[in-house]
């Protein structure tokens, strides 16, 4: 075997081992590196009240209610498997809307209501011009639009 073949085998073996180690580490991180808890994670794993977390999911349609004080909103967050109620006081981002993705920072209170201190809108992977919007969302109710 020539020296360069030895080096090739050595380098490839090292590369395979490295990538394997990287992937193993990444998959071990799976839950730790998650940016937010989905409602189903909360249900199955349990999050103690008062622990600061991020809760992510879709805002349930027709669940958004504005309280009498005008700055507090109530809405439900779902991931299709579980749904949790949430409350937020303040200015929501422009893209926050029913049926859209949301990541809320905050903590659960004793009764299981998520008290959000900050809201981030999560954008999905779909991009389309405004004329096409109706074609995708025709059946569903057109509630608050993100754009004027």
């Amino acid at each position: 075997m020539k020296a360069k073949h030895q080096r090739l085998i050595l380098a490839l073996a090292a590369l395979v081992a490295l990538v394997g180690a990287g992937l193993l580490a990444a998959s071990a991180l799976k839950d730790e590196a998650a940016y937010f808890y989905a409602p189903n994670d909360v249900k199955t794993k349990g999050v103690e009240p008062g622990k600061p977390i991020r809760l992510g999911g879709m805002v349930v349609r027709n669940s958004l209610k504005r309280a009498a004080d005008g700055v507090t909103i109530h809405f439900d967050v779902t991931d299709g498997k579980a749904t949790v109620p949430a409350r937020f006081s303040g200015i929501a981002p422009d893209l926050f809307k029913e049926g859209g993705g949301v990541v809320a920072e905050g903590a659960f209170d004793a009764k299981g209501m998520f008290i959000a201190t900050n809201l981030l809108a999560k954008h999905d992977e779909r991009y389309m011009p405004r004329e096409l919007e109706g074609m995708t969302y025709n059946e569903t109710t057109h509630e608050m639009k993100a754009e004027k």
């Binding site: 940016y35 919007e133 993100a146």
Partner: protein, 257 residues
Amino acid sequence: MPYWRWSVGPATDAILMHRFANPARFLKIARPLTGWLFWPGLLLLLSGAAVGLFVTPADYLQGQTVRILYIHVPAAWLGMGGWSGIAIAALMQLVWRHPLAAIAGRAIAAPGALFTAICLMTGSIWGRPTWGTWWEWDGRMTSMLVLFFLYLGYIALANASARQGQQGGVSNVTAIFGLVGAVNIPIINRSVVWWNSLHQGPSITLRGSSIDGSLLWPLGFTLLGFSLLFGAIVLMRMRAILAQNKVEARMQRLARG
């Protein structure tokens, strides 16, 4: 015997890779190729950017901010592609002792870091109106930032080895660093799939695109345009390093008198 003659042997050595181990032969191709990559690249980039700014419709949800996509996506692609290039060059350097591979690795590092920085900045500017935040420590953003730091580490190592007389190339330690850093590339790619993240999932997959065609097509222009420009910059930098080598060799000869 000059260093690039090591691998240029008899007829058995006719593989393409070894043909271009000779800098003179490489330069004969690289000189005209630089222009052939640079000008079409610039033209594609400018026309794609103009179309993306003025012709394509606004997004139904993001409005005008969607247009940053035409810069952000190519920048991300070249940031990751650049490191893939460094890893391939490192493999060629370590296994075949290819002298141009060591120079290519050094040449790729700076533009790769630049495009990674552009990706991070445009993403941040887009994130503020879309998500409501400039920066969050989610899987995609964090792994991309790690890539940027890897580039900085690679550049620092490459500069250190240049001072130790690596004939314009990078040391083997730098090459090993380039190979190890490649672990981050699949992690960036999969970060939005493995972990729930603020960054959206992949829009363009093998199964198709969830970006509507009317918004998508200028992206092809800017992607190709930026890629050609990237190639041109790498060739320019490789030529500059080779020229620098020649100067240094001549200076040394003069000094020896």
